[in-house]
């Protein structure tokens, strides 16, 4: 036992040292061939993206990696408000794709991004379990008594956009839970614990047959525009810029449109 104690301490010290090194190593700086129209890029980039982008960005990431051998794209999907806080607290990220302008502004005003570009728009839809136990047919049903309604919490884009829908429809709702991000709302609906949830159109499509989507009338629906930016503190800005360019290109927008996103 005497000998194991320093060994443990050494391991702990090693873990600390590793942690201090951070994850996004491999600086870009590929010199020489970079002068031509397609600069060769290498290394790893970390993309912080809104939960609702999970399916589309995973596909785009694979295409981007195929187009740029030697580049690895790592994703962190979470609520945009959560990601914005992480970035301004110094989390190692190269690209930020937010589900709302507000959370992007948080990042740009703190000096972590110079400018952002809107790339898609998303609208809201009601998701219900396949059997639709509460027989939800429209937004008005969400205000009925006895319904177990799941929403995102108000500081998350899906929560504030859903709140805009209820304001437009002049409805007061009584949700049973305010989840941390849109995928958590969807999970509560998929498990049948919630009778309905207000999520993005794209989430309903991504969930396939696990939920049924009930459209919200155009007159009351609300939307949010997604901006994307390469971050100034990126240690691999060449690859970060290239990824943003790819998302904005025809290839990227084909994937996004196929997943149900609208043009901004």
């Amino acid at each position: 036992m005497r000998r194991t104690a320093p060994a443990f301490a050494l391991i702990a010290a090693a873990v600390l040292a590793l942690a201090a090194c951070g994850s996004s190593s491999t600086p870009a700086a590929t010199t020489g061939a970079g002068a031509s129209s397609a600069p060769s890029i290498t290394g790893t980039i970390t993309v912080f993206a809104a939960s609702s982008l999970k399916e589309a960005f995973t596909a785009i990431g694979q295409q981007f990696e195929a187009a740029h051998p030697g580049v690895k794209v790592v994703f962190n999907f979470a609520a945009s408000s959560d990601l914005a806080t992480q970035i301004t607290q110094g989390a190692p990220a190269d690209v930020f794709a937010s589900a709302s302008g507000k959370n992007m502004t948080q990042v740009t005003t703190a000096g972590y991004a110079a400018a952002s570009t809107p790339f898609v728009k998303n609208t809201m839809e009601i998701a219900a379990p396949p059997a639709n136990p509460f027989k939800v047919t429209g937004v008005a049903d969400l205000a009925k008594t006895g319904i177990k309604l799941a929403l995102c919490q108000p500081q998350v884009p899906c929560g504030s956009t859903a709140a805009a829908v209820f304001t437009n429809a002049k409805l007061t709702v009584h949700p049973v839970t305010l989840e941390a991000d849109v995928k958590s709302v969807l999970a509560k609906v998929e498990l049948g614990e919630a009778d309905a949830g207000v999520v993005y159109v794209t989430d309903v499509r991504a969930a396939g047959s696990k939920v049924v989507g009930i459209p919200i009338a155009d007159g009351v629906n609300a939307s949010t525009t997604y901006p994307i930016a390469a971050l100034t503190k990126s240690t691999n800005s060449a690859a970060a810029q290239a990824f943003v360019a790819y998302v904005l290109s025809a290839g990227g927008s084909t994937v996004l449109t196929a997943d149900g996103f609208a043009k901004p």
Binding site: A5, A9, A12, L16, G192
Partner: protein
């Protein structure tokens, strides 16, 4: 030998220093009297206390069973009931949802027969907290029962005391210090419960939003509030630790 030990100390203490350095002391009072904060604090104290009472009522007899009986499979039983000690709490929450949720294999009958649905209710918070915290009490009390001198129990029994009387008048007073220590540990664990709660009970202010959930969710919108709430939980933890230490020192008759 000394250097790695100091690294260890720094590793454990620095985050707490960081918390205290960033604490918005001047606005602390304003943050803590905000309605949603007092609501979360009250809910946390209430649910942790109820979870502790439930844990005592169910956990002490269970600890007694584990310590004093011999039957095949008791080792397996002990492993099963103390599993939540090592299980990631969020896994516990998912498991609770699949058992006691509206579509769970137990929960669907609660809904059909009694019209009771547990998720998203304060009861769900208490269940989640009890699930993760009760094993702390069981382990502590079982240990005490094992080390307590059974001669007193036997003497009382030979003098004609019933099993219940022996337990109430002899065994329980003997293990009282450990019961208190286990209860405090259990309460502290319940107070800090996060993963199982957010998975099983969801998040709604005043109903299921306990302090740890409020801290986590406030970090996104109002970091100062998250820090202030964290300091409150830190203070509670220190009080528990100090109280427990004192109790333990007095508890042992061998020192």
């Amino acid at each position: 030998m000394l250097a790695p030990a100091l690294v260890g100390v720094a590793f454990l203490v620095l985050p707490l220093v960081g918390l205290l350095l960033r604490t918005p002391w001047s606005s602390m009072a304003r943050i803590l009297v905000a309605a949603d904060v007092t609501q979360a604090l009250r809910l946390s104290l209430w649910t942790a206390s109820v979870a502790t009472v439930v844990s005592v009522l169910l956990g002490v007899p269970l600890a007694w069973l584990l310590a004093r009986s011999q039957f095949p499979g008791i080792a397996l039983l002990r492993a099963l009931v103390t599993l939540p000690l090592v299980l990631p709490p969020v896994v516990g929450g998912v498991a609770l949802l699949l058992a006691f949720g509206r579509k769970g294999f137990v929960g669907q009958y609660l809904d059909q027969w009694f019209g009771i649905t547990l998720p998203f209710s304060t009861a769900a918070v208490i269940i989640a907290e009890t699930f993760v915290a009760m094993p702390f009490l069981i382990v502590t009390v079982e240990g005490a029962l094992r080390s307590a001198d059974q001669g007193y129990d036997e003497a009382a029994a030979t003098l004609g005391a019933s099993r219940m009387t022996v337990f109430r008048r002899v065994t329980l007073p003997l293990i009282a210090p450990s019961l208190v220590a286990g209860g405090v540990l259990c309460w502290a664990r319940a107070l800090g419960e996060f993963g199982a709660t957010i998975a099983f009970a969801g998040n709604f202010p005043g109903r299921t939003q306990t302090m740890p959930l409020a801290v986590y969710l406030a970090l996104e919108s109002d970091p100062d509030a998250a820090i202030a709430l964290s300091v409150v939980l830190l203070v509670v933890s220190v009080i528990v630790l100090v109280g427990l230490r004192d109790r333990w020192l007095r508890a042992s008759p061998f020192r």
